[in-house]
């Protein structure tokens, strides 16, 4: 199968077959990072722009490392150091980067839909590295890769996602991704953090964390943001930890081979207890490792894959 998409914008626009292709490719890419010399010439001569309008350490460095392992030239532009703060519009930025012959633009933006707008305005491939509360497809793909490596499948699993679903692009992309691959996704959190009609994305909802965890193959905890207290979404971290936090005691309701995931950064002691975050079921660091492999696969595929890239 040939990968035909110009851009990677969200999980909704990827088919089951495309997701499988990306994950298979990522499995192959993973080996490169385990070599003593962690670099192949595959994307030599390609330019990858990391356009980050929002602070990010993990995602940006992951894409940067992925580009470098494939020998692409990567440059980083952050909102604070560019003309973005001087009133240049996104469309201007897109045109300028295109004029410099960027091949891929990896974009992080606080506005939902910003990468979609960028993609319409440029011939360069656009990879969404997280837009507002909308989508974070590379995160969902790395989560799926990690689960598949551990479980051998993505079908018929019970995936519990717990926390502030309403403000989570990670949750949206994982709901769409896992349900598309045939798993059951169950969401839990305080009702204030469950968005309206979220069931239409292919998930079920409970307000009872124990019910969500019961029989789960995967428990994914989301970061809780203290500032949400101002929007009356929850009263305190203390009560949140008590009612919705993942503790060892609570984890006993899950399957014996449960996997604990978190997109990071982790608030130890709030949404997840330190013993669980760092315990035997946690695959949080495997997620980070998968991240580089998935992003290598995405860069490779949007640049034409086996078709255009110089093979070595």
């Amino acid at each position: 199968m040939q990968f035909a998409k110009k851009d990677i914008l969200d999980m909704g626009s990827l088919s089951r077959e495309e997701i499988t292709l990306i994950l298979d490719m990522a499995d192959r890419m993973k080996e490169i990072s385990e070599r003593p010399v962690k670099k192949v010439p595959t994307l030599r001569g390609k330019t990858v722009v990391l356009l980050f309008h929002e602070p990010s350490t993990r995602t940006r460095s992951s894409f940067d490392i992925a580009a470098k392992r494939l020998s692409a030239d990567s440059i980083s532009i952050s909102a604070s150091s560019s003309s973005l703060v001087k009133g240049e519009t996104l469309i201007d930025t897109a045109r300028n980067l295109e004029a410099m012959h960027a091949d891929v633009i990896v974009m992080r933006h606080s506005s939902s839909g910003a990468p979609h707008m960028l993609a319409r305005a440029t011939k360069a491939a656009v990879i969404n590295a997280g837009d507002g509360t909308h989508a974070h497809p590379s995160q969902a793909l790395l989560d799926m890769m990690t689960v598949r490596q551990n479980k051998g499948t993505l079908g018929r699993l019970r995936i519990a996602i717990i926390g502030d679903i309403a403000h989570s692009r990670v949750a949206r992309s994982n709901i769409e991704g896992f349900s598309k691959m045939g798993s059951e996704v169950i969401l839990a959190g305080p009702p204030t953090m469950i968005p309206k009609e979220v069931e239409t994305l292919g998930a079920s909802v409970t307000y009872d964390v124990d019910e969500a965890i019961h029989g789960a193959d995967v428990v994914m905890m989301l970061r809780i943001q203290k500032e949400r207290q101002r929007d009356f979404l929850f009263p305190s971290e203390r009560e949140y930890a008590k009612v919705y936090g993942l503790t060892e005691k609570r984890l006993r309701k899950a399957r014996e081979d449960v996997l604990i995931m978190h997109p990071g950064p982790v608030n130890r002691g709030v949404e997840i207890s330190p013993a669980v975050a760092d315990g035997p079921y946690s695959i949080i660091l495997d997620q980070v490792t998968s991240g580089v492999a998935v992003r290598m696969a995405l860069l490779y595929l949007v640049l034409g894959g086996a078709k255009n890239a110089g093979k070595n």
């Binding site: 909704g12 519009t89 996104l90 469309i91 933006h109 506005s111 939902s112 839909g113 910003a114 979609h116 707008m117 837009d131 507002g132 509360t133 909308h134 989508a135 692009r169 949206r172 968005p195 309206k196 009609e197 979220v198 239409t200 994305l201 929007d231």
Partner: protein
């Protein structure tokens, strides 16, 4: 100079419906009859052949934004008046959120002056309820009325302070001025940028719940009842609002309401792909709401169709969705979209003319009926001629519409204000 509009189907809801001639002299209607003989001297009379066309009292759009003074790069009074003329409108009400705000007589008079030299539709300015639209201090309603203001609204902003709204209703009553309510509970609307629901959830955009509108409408209905003052509800978009207004009318409260063509034509699905030309406030709602709006139009709960014509330049629309300006232009697509309701059997042609002409006139206290002695404010339209919307040809300076390239049927062919032809595609 005499003008004869000859052989059209003349519809003035409740009074006239049939093939008739209308004779005009010095800008006034002098005769309406089945066949008017005008003698044989061709030279001193202009004959407009309206056979096969519909002739109606001039259409009135009681809710437009002309951005003048202050943001003339989006629209001026003059271009707005021409856009109105091309859409078949003989009169419009301009909302006061200009810069400076139309909260004083000088601005009201400026707008009227500009409109007089536009050679387009008439303008009846709506002045502000509160100084600077701030909701803190009443404007001088007496002075505004004397300057030519036809109604009062803080449109764009709701009057959040209930006591201020009560006093505005009472004080305006003394001058016979109507209060038009932009009904919105700002705390419920929060940071929302589109309708709350499945589409917003999927797109990761903060939603505005229906009740952000209806809760404010319910308050304003209660205040209208308390003060026994008339109130008009602008741009109704939700089913809960339709229910509240229907119930209030049954109880005899003096409430009238308008909706806009986009609320009876589109749903929040139009926001798909982050289309900023589908971003407005109130937002496009669900199909349940659209159904309720159609029912409200059909049963008379919603009295008027008004466009909320909101011009914005490309620099305000070609940006991230959450940063994009609210609103779309509507003057040059309103009538064809309304005629779609007639084609689908939701409204009779007569009912559509009521909602686009005589009801707005009645609500505003204007006599625009087709009768001898009245100024000849007349619209001639085709109800079914197919055409394709071409935004590039619009008279409006701005281009922000989701209806570009739509295939529609029916449109205005000739618009006349006081006997003066301001738009003509017949001759």
């Amino acid at each position: 100079m005499r003008v004869k509009i000859s052989g059209g189907r003349v519809i003035d809801p409740g009074t006239l419906d049939g093939v008739m001639d209308i004779l005009l002299e010095d800008g006034k209607i002098t005769d309406i009859a089945e066949k008017i003989e005008t003698g044989d001297v061709e030279g001193d009379i202009r004959v407009i052949d309206a056979s096969g066309k519909i002739v109606t009292p001039g259409l009135i759009d009681m809710h437009v934004h002309f951005r003048d003074p202050g943001h003339e790069y989006k629209e001026t009074v003059r271009t707005g008046c021409l856009a109105a003329a091309h859409g078949g409108f003989t009169g419009v009400c301009t909302m006061p959120n200009t810069d400076p705000v139309n909260d004083n007589r000088q601005i009201t008079e400026y707008i009227i002056r500009e409109a007089r030299i536009a050679n387009g539709a008439r303008v009846w300015p709506v002045a502000a309820i509160s100084k600077g639209l701030q909701g803190k201090q009443l404007c001088e309603y007496g002075d505004l009325r004397d300057g030519g203001a036809i109604a009062l609204s803080d449109d764009g902003n709701p009057v959040s302070d209930s006591q201020m709204m009560r006093r505005a209703l009472e004080y305006a009553k003394g001058f016979g001025l109507l209060i038009i309510s932009h009904a919105e509970d700002l705390s419920l609307a929060g940071s929302g940028v589109m309708n709350e629901g499945a589409v917003a959830t999927r797109m990761g955009l903060p939603g505005i719940p229906n009740v952000a509108e209806s809760i404010a409408i319910m308050r304003d209905i209660a205040l209208a009842e308390l003060t026994d003052a008339p109130i008009h509800i602008a741009h109704v978009s939700t089913r809960e609002s339709v229910h509240a207004i229907r119930d209030a009318k049954k109880r005899g409260i003096r409430v009238t309401a308008e909706t806009a063509p986009h609320y009876f034509t589109l749903t929040d699905e139009a926001v798909e792909a982050y289309n900023t030309n589908a971003k407005m406030n109130p937002p496009l709602r669900s199909h349940h709401d659209r159904e309720a709006i159609l029912e409200g139009l059909a049963d008379g709960t919603l009295d008027a169709i008004a466009t909320d014509h909101a011009p914005h330049a490309i620099i305000e629309k070609e940006v991230e969705f959450d940063h994009a300006a609210n609103g779309i232009i509507g003057l040059e697509t309103s009538l064809p979209l309304g005629l779609k309701l007639v084609e689908k059997g939701i409204l009779s042609l007569t009912a559509l003319i009521e909602k686009m002409s005589v009801n707005p006139a009645r609500i505003l206290g204007i006599d625009n009926r087709l009768k001898v002695g009245n100024p000849a404010d007349i619209t001639i339209m085709t109800p079914d001629q197919p055409h394709i919307v071409k935004v590039a040809d619009f008279q409006s300076i701005s281009r922000n519409t989701p209806f570009d390239a739509w295939s529609l049927k029916g449109k205005a062919l000739l618009t006349m204000v006081g006997g003066n032809i301001i738009f003509d595609e017949i001759s």
